[in-house]
């Protein structure tokens, strides 16, 4: 099991310059999409016959909840890349994804629980999706805690990679067991995102918002990766040039 380090195409310097451009593109696109999507969802989408206007929260909650899980899976992909191709960049990606993913999970949790108030009358309901989102949040927290506890960055990267891979294998098991548990104890009440055949005017803004939040996540991850690269490669010469250029 060799941990030999070699920079294939993913050399930090090459990535640092390109990420700067991709980051700006993602940022502006995300801003545009989110403005359009949110205004459309809040103002122009028809009110839901059951919930009235409070369902409009799904235009934030559903994309963010989807992102929280997608970012965890992205971390698992980075972990595989780190183990198979031993690329330092994958480790940097994992570190950036953990923080952004945790932020999205917290946002999904709060938006879900605030949405619970008009729907069920209480802020926290042990609903299947909210509970597995809570557990996902603890998984993210575990990763961030482990990352900050180990001094040597390479060791921290590989330790987190192992934790992410074990976590991603258990994620579906956790989701199913939580869903089974919540169905066991509560009659199948209105699920947060049970979409009864949404008309086009409802799910089009949802799609735009989803794309918008994806790009926001990409923007944040790229920005965070550039910072981590700068911090880790501070010894090398190309960092000095970049600093003098800025």
């Amino acid at each position: 099991m060799g941990w030999r380090w070699f920079h294939e195409w993913g050399s930090p310097k090459w990535f640092y310059d390109r990420a700067g451009r991709w980051q700006r593109v993602c940022g502006f696109l995300a801003l545009a999409l989110l403005l359009v999507g949110t205004l459309w969802g809040l103002g122009f989408a028809p009110a839901d016959y059951q919930q009235g206007n409070s369902y409009r929260i799904i235009y934030l909650h559903v994309p963010v909840a989807f992102l929280a899980q997608a970012l965890y899976v992205a971390m698992a992909v980075c972990a595989i890349v780190l183990f198979v191709w031993k690329m330092k960049l994958a480790d940097v990606g994992m570190q950036a994804l953990a923080v952004v993913g945790f932020g999205f999970t917290v946002l999904a949790l709060f938006s879900g629980s605030i949405w619970g108030k008009p729907t069920w009358g209480t802020y926290w309901v042990w609903d299947a999706r909210l509970t597995s989102m809570l557990i996902l949040g603890f998984l993210y927290l575990g990763l961030i805690g482990l990352r900050s506890a180990i001094q040597n960055p390479d060791q921290a990267g590989k330790a987190c990679a192992i934790l992410v891979l074990v976590g991603v294998v258990n994620l579906p098991i956790i989701k199913y067991s939580v869903e089974w548990w919540s169905a066991l104890h509560q009659p199948a009440s209105f699920k947060l995102t049970e979409k009864p055949a949404m008309p086009a005017s409802m799910w089009v803004p949802l799609l735009i918002n989803l794309l918008g939040y994806y790009l926001v996540a990409a923007y944040l991850v790229l920005a965070s990766m550039r910072t981590v690269i700068l911090d880790r490669e501070r010894g090398s010469a190309w960092v000095r040039e970049v600093i003098e250029r800025d």
């Binding site: 099991m1 998984l139 192992i162």
Partner: protein
């Protein structure tokens, strides 16, 4: 003497050399369980209902008390490096170590739970279900906490980070075990759930030692 035999002998001697680690979990379990009636109410009907779940969670936490010490002492003494020089794959040695830990620390703890059950006046059939679920679930829990311990080997101070990192992964086991307990209390059959719990435990007990081996190898190789 084969490597396996030497491992068992050493683990037994370690248990005798460190009696504290053997009794602390039991002491913790009984202490926590005796807090429950104080916090709730001494009325035995209420205690009987929630008693088994309380015992289950308390046993789970008692298990995690000395999880962090699994590899730390060997790592600090440098004996963990010597593990690599046995002609056995590392994950096999991890399985041996976890089996010994389970046999000498976890099973005695499970045998103490009936005492806790009596204190919370848990009905007999639920008590049996509790014992069976614990016996089925603890291999998986031990492997998970071992992975947590192996991952946090590189951190300076030993702490509960290894446990915090692994607790979210205990959720399926807790849910399945709790399902068995509720089924047992209202008499319906518990076999399908026990089968699921057993399957999860076997999968964890065979696959996780590989990850623990990689984590250990990482910490041994890293620190010069």
């Amino acid at each position: 003497m084969s490597v396996e035999h030497r491992f068992l002998v050493r683990e037994l001697k370690l248990v005798l050399a460190r009696p504290g680690d053997f009794f602390k979990p039991m002491w913790f379990l009984i202490l926590v369980i005796s807090m429950v009636p104080l916090a709730l109410s001494p009325d035995s009907k209420l205690l009987g209902e929630i008693g088994s779940a309380m015992i289950w969670v308390a046993t789970l936490l008692a298990l995690l008390l000395n999880a962090d010490q699994l590899f730390r002492d060997d790592f600090v003494d440098g004996v963990l490096e010597q593990w690599l020089f046995f002609n056995r794959p590392l994950f096999w040695l991890v399985i041996l170590k976890l089996f010994c830990h389970w046999l000498f620390y976890v099973v005695p703890l499970i045998l103490v739970t009936p005492l806790a059950g009596m204190m919370l006046s848990v009905p007999n059939d639920v008590m049996i279900a509790l014992l069976v679920t614990l016996l089925l679930a603890t291999p998986a829990l031990t492997c998970f906490s071992a992975l947590g311990a192996a991952l946090t080997l590189g951190t300076a101070r030993s702490g509960i980070l290894g446990v915090l990192v692994m607790l979210p992964l205990f959720v399926p086991v807790i849910i399945l075990a709790a399902g068995v307990l509720t089924r047992a209390s209202d008499g319906s059959d518990i076999l399908p759930l026990l089968a699921l719990l057993g399957a999860f435990s076997i999968a964890a007990a065979t696959l996780l030692p590989l990850a623990v081996g990689v984590a250990l190898r990482l910490n041994i190789g890293g620190s010069s």
